[in-house]
């Protein structure tokens, strides 16, 4: 059993359903805090199972000592800084800076006793097993691990193009946009020698692809006289592609019973992540549009102020992602399969709700938002189910 959680899911497709572009010369600064938790994966028959295989432990020639079970729960705190700039009214570029504030893994280890061990006159207890393991140089796996404080994940560069609209689109206020994002490999892999460890690159966070393309559309409905929609229907189709990841294999110098794989796996191995295809649907309702006033935000124009986003917007959405097979490539196909069997072609469904409070109409260049996204509600297949709560603040700036 290896307790390193090489992958944590942050249940988000970060920029789905968005067709928003910034006005020319405008900056948007967005700071958010994400709290993600993950404690299960979906099996091939859509059952929730542990993130880590049971580990039967054997005493050579004396049968099964017992089964070491881990039901790990991983919690991840991330600060996400997004800086966007409107190059033109139809082209916005951005930089996304995810910083891991802390990763915490609670291993939740348990023990199922195995065969009677005649050498000690009993079946091994959990403590017996660890005493035995210690005599072989294997330290006890901690109940809890925290780390990665302040570590950078992969930086992401992105661009969004508001696509041209033909007559009927314009008439119905339909918008559509294409988005392309590309990650820079600034994150880290998990520690191959640690019994419990989490990496920070995008593949390990599993939130978004290294390269992503989105085609999103928004259809506002029930617009008032100022063009503010009471309802917005959004849709997004996207593809995500991950770079092959190269890992160093553990040599067992710290955990000889758990991590000595290099002699047969090879000193390094590669993970070729399966790509994603996904679609999102989003419903936004603005029950309170609120008052407005001419201000610096609207350039002193009262009409423009009335057209700014509603004071309160509630949203709900669903994202369905099909995932392709993820392959491990080492010198041992047997070891590869031990991983690949949980990363076969599958799917996952994210359900999300959110609320946004926008003060732009009031002359304050600030939007606050919170949302909750869960992959636990709808069982998936060969994917991991993360739940994420996020809060953030966004401001719009124009310096000239």
């Amino acid at each position: 059993m290896r307790f390193a959680l090489c992958v944590l899911l942050v249940a988000s497709v970060a920029r789905a359903t968005e067709t928003q572009t910034l006005p020319t010369g405008t900056f948007s600064l967005d700071v958010s805090y994400l709290s993600s938790s993950l404690d299960k994966q979906w099996s091939g028959d859509r059952k929730a199972i542990s993130l880590i295989d049971d580990s039967p432990r054997y005493e050579p020639g004396a049968g099964l000592q017992g089964i070491l079970r881990a039901r790990p729960r991983a919690e991840l705190s991330i600060a996400l800084l997004q800086i966007l700039y409107g190059v033109t009214d139809w082209l916005t570029v951005g930089l996304y800076v995810p910083i891991v504030l802390q990763a915490k893994v609670t291993t939740n280890l348990s023990w199922q006793p195995g065969d009677y061990q005649s050498s000690v006159g009993r079946v091994y207890s959990f403590d017996d097993f660890w005493a035995w393991a210690a005599s072989l140089g294997q330290p006890r796996v901690p109940d809890q691990w925290t780390g990665n404080q302040g570590k950078l994940s992969d930086l992401v560069l992105g661009g969004r193009v508001l696509l041209p609209r033909v007559g009927f689109m314009e008439k119905s206020h339909f918008r559509w946009a294409g988005t392309l994002s590309v990650a820079l490999p600034t994150g880290t892999n998990f520690d191959p020698e640690a019994a419990v460890s989490v990496g920070t690159n995008l593949w390990e966070l599993n939130a978004t692809g290294d390269v992503e393309t989105h085609l999103a559309a928004d259809q506002p409905l029930f617009l008032d006289d100022d063009g503010v929609a009471r309802v917005n229907l959004g849709a997004d189709v996207f593809g995500s592609f991950f770079y092959p990841q190269r890992y160093v294999a553990g040599t067992g110098k710290v955990n000889p019973l758990l991590d000595n794989i290099a002699p047969y796996v090879g000193s390094t191995y590669t993970v070729n992540p399966g790509s994603w295809l996904g679609a999102s649907f989003n419903l936004e309702v603005s029950p309170i549009i609120g008052p407005s006033r001419a201000s610096i935000v609207s350039g002193g124009d009262a009409a423009k102020a009335r057209a700014l986003p509603a004071l309160l917007t509630l949203s709900a959405g669903i994202t369905h992602v099909r995932t392709a097979q993820t392959y491990w490539h080492s010198e041992s196909p047997t070891w590869d399969w031990d991983h690949e069997k949980y990363w076969q072609p599958g799917d996952k469904t994210t359900v999300r709700v959110g609320v946004t409070v926008s003060f732009l109409r009031l002359g304050v260049p600030l939007q606050l938002y919170a949302n909750y996204r869960t992959q636990s509600l709808v069982p998936g297949r060969y994917t991991r189910a993360a739940d994420v709560f996020a809060v953030g603040a966004r401001t719009v700036l124009k310096f000239w």
Binding site: G63, V120, T213, N260, Y264, S275, A324, S332
Partner: protein
């Protein structure tokens, strides 16, 4: 409207990577031909990945650390093992390598070349391949020494007495004498291969005396009879301390009439030992005594051990050869369940290696990646063998200590002779029938104790038990017998009829395998007094005997497959392969690649491609 180009690319990439991964085989079939080196090279090349994986996961990650736990005990007895070369985790590897080099001298040149071929093909070093192919016998021998030493610290059964049996008017021990003095009393306690008492009155009280220099812990005492467990405080069990070192245990419970019962006894001592962890008392081997009660009507020799369902016993390996009157159409089959050491890895590395040598018959071994040996196999002449370990202190490692006993400061535990897998290989390479195969076994000095069954397509059937004959008892360390052979009491050794032989993981003919004596402060005893396999082996052999009797005369390859997969005879933790050799058809039917092996289907492989 055009789809944006990047999206098109992404869709293509995504869809192109949808093919699900497929599991690699956990059982391999490879064909090798040519010279010994060429066959080894082909083997090493074809199974390169699995050989590395098997070596690391079984030896480096499991067996070496496990053996290294014995270092302090062994070094206190043989100080060489406290030396520099054996430090820093090198104890097990160096110890096994020393033995491997000693064993290597007994192996023919062709074997060296084949091992070199495996090394060149796989990328392991020659020494690593040598260790991989010799460790089984060496580890069994070293483990035997360590276990025997450990058991001398544990409680011993001093005596077992069935009170009143010596005046019940019945010949309870089958010696032809009724109620002779001492009938029903076993002092000293020596286990027997079959039933030890028959027709015991149902009101009999059983009195046992246990002894240990550190005192016997009454709280650890377990006595079971049938499905009833008795511990300290149980009704019917009385525990009395006779002295600081002796404990009397009296079991007074009504017995069922006309039944076969197993009395099971275990206990630990009062000294808590820190090494090797976890902290533990020294526990005696679980002792068993099989008896019948009034009305059963069986002679001791005819008593078959009943199944034990206490969750503390696992069936070890066995083999059964059948022929002529036992089978449908007078076919010849050899079937084996091999069980020893899976460690959650062996089952992922199973392999049938089919050889087409430049000269001699084609043959196939049933084994594991990187091992040129197999513990069973068959050749194109229709000769097959199957072996299971049979613990003995009459082994070459003990012999090496004997040879150095005058100065233990330089003595080492070194195995010598031919490991059973290489003996089997020689059988496959040269034997034309069972008689010539037995002759091969007789021509070799053996590293350790094994119980093998050999059979040919014509129905030649023999069992061969081996030890290292370090006591020079004149046997040469080889004890063959056939279904028709009789022991001193006039009974067949291990047959239920005229045309079968059952061998287990214990000796049937080689009894006692070693004398009882003290040497260098350590007590040497026969297999039946120390081996953890002994009672389990006798039980699985009896289970096989019952199942074979039920189908005698109509045995087929299919029915043998069913027998081998019966839960009563399959070790759920350490089963390694189930094989039926169809000698007439020259076919190998093997179930392997899972743990337990009974979860695998039998697949048929002709011995020649």
């Amino acid at each position: 409207m055009k789809t944006p180009r990047p999206l098109t690319l992404m869709l293509a990439v995504s869809l192109g990577a949808c093919a699900p991964a497929t599991p690699p085989p956990t059982r391999e079939l490879i064909d090798v031909k040519g010279s010994a080196y060429e066959r080894g090279l082909s083997h090493g090349t074809q199974l390169r990945s699995k050989i590395h994986s098997f070596y690391t996961t079984l030896l480096t990650n499991a067996l070496f650390p496990y053996l290294s736990r014995e270092q302090p005990d062994i070094a206190s007895f043989l100080p060489v093992y406290a030396g520099e070369r054996f430090q820093n985790g090198q104890f097990a590897y160096q110890l096994l390598l020393d033995s491997a080099h000693a064993i290597e001298k007994s192996l023919p040149r062709a074997v060296h070349e084949e091992l070199q071929g495996v090394a060149d093909g796989s990328g392991l070093s020659y020494d690593e391949v040598l260790v991989l192919n010799t460790f089984v016998d060496t580890v069994m021998a070293v483990r035997g020494v360590a276990l025997a030493i450990r058991l001398t610290r544990a409680p011993q059964v001093e005596s077992i007495e069935f009170v009143g049996v010596d005046h019940d008017g019945v010949d309870n021990d089958g010696d032809g004498v009724v109620d002779q003095p001492g009938e029903g009393t076993f002092s000293p306690w020596v286990p027997a291969l079959a039933g030890q008492l028959v027709e015991v009155p149902t009101t009999t009280t059983i009195r046992m005396v246990l002894t240990d220099a550190d005192g016997v812990d009454p709280a650890s005492l377990r006595v079971s009879l049938g499905d009833s467990l008795f511990t300290q405080g149980s009704d019917g069990l009385t525990i009395t301390s006779l002295s600081a070192t002796r404990l009397e245990v009296v079991l007074a419970t009504p017995l069922d009439a006309a039944s076969i019962d197993t009395l099971v006894i275990s206990a630990g001592d009062l000294a808590l030992r820190q090494q090797p962890p976890p902290v533990h008392e020294s526990f005696m081997r679980t002792e068993e005594l099989v008896f019948t009660t009034s009305g059963a009507g069986l002679a001791p020799r005819d008593v078959l051990r009943p199944a034990l369902n206490d969750g503390r016993t696992r069936p070890p390996g066995f083999a059964v050869g059948v022929r002529r009157s036992a089978t449908q159409g007078a076919a010849a089959f050899l079937a084996t369940d091999f069980a020893l050491l899976d460690a959650n890895t062996s089952h992922k590395h199973t392999a049938i290696v089919r050889h087409q040598p430049d000269s001699g018959p084609a043959f196939a071994t049933v084994g594991w990646a990187g091992m040129v040996i197999g513990l069973s196999g068959m050749n194109a002449n229709g000769v097959a063998y199957a072996c299971s370990p049979s613990d003995t202190l009459d082994n070459s490692v003990v012999g090496s200590v004997f040879a150095q006993v005058a100065d233990l400061t330089t003595a080492t535990l070194t195995a010598k002779g031919t490991p059973i897998g290489f003996a089997g290989r020689k059988v496959l390479e040269t034997a034309t029938d069972t008689a010539s195969a037995v002759a091969v076994m007789k021509s070799l000095k053996h590293v350790y104790g094994w119980a093998c069954t050999i059979e040919d397509a014509a129905g030649g059937l023999a069992a061969v038990e081996t030890d290292s004959d370090i006591f020079n008892d004149g046997s040469g360390g080889v004890f063959p017998y056939a279904p028709e052979d009789r022991d001193a009491t006039g009974h067949t050794y291990s047959s239920v009829g005229a045309d079968d032989l059952i061998t287990g993981s214990s000796f049937t003919k080689n009894v006692p395998d070693s004398p009882t004596l003290m040497i260098a402060g350590q007590r040497l005893v026969p297999q039946r007094s120390w081996s953890g396999f002994f009672f389990r082996s006798r039980r699985v052999m009896d289970a096989v005997a019952r199942k074979l009797t039920a189908q005698y005369g109509s045995v087929t390859a299919d029915s043998l497959q069913t027998l081998l997969s019966d839960p009563e005879v399959v070790d759920h933790s350490d089963s390694m392969n189930e094989v039926v050799f169809d000698l007439g058809r020259r076919e190998i039917r093997a179930a392997m690649g899972t743990e337990p092996t009974s979860d695998s289907p039998f697949e048929i492989t002709p011995v020649s491609p």
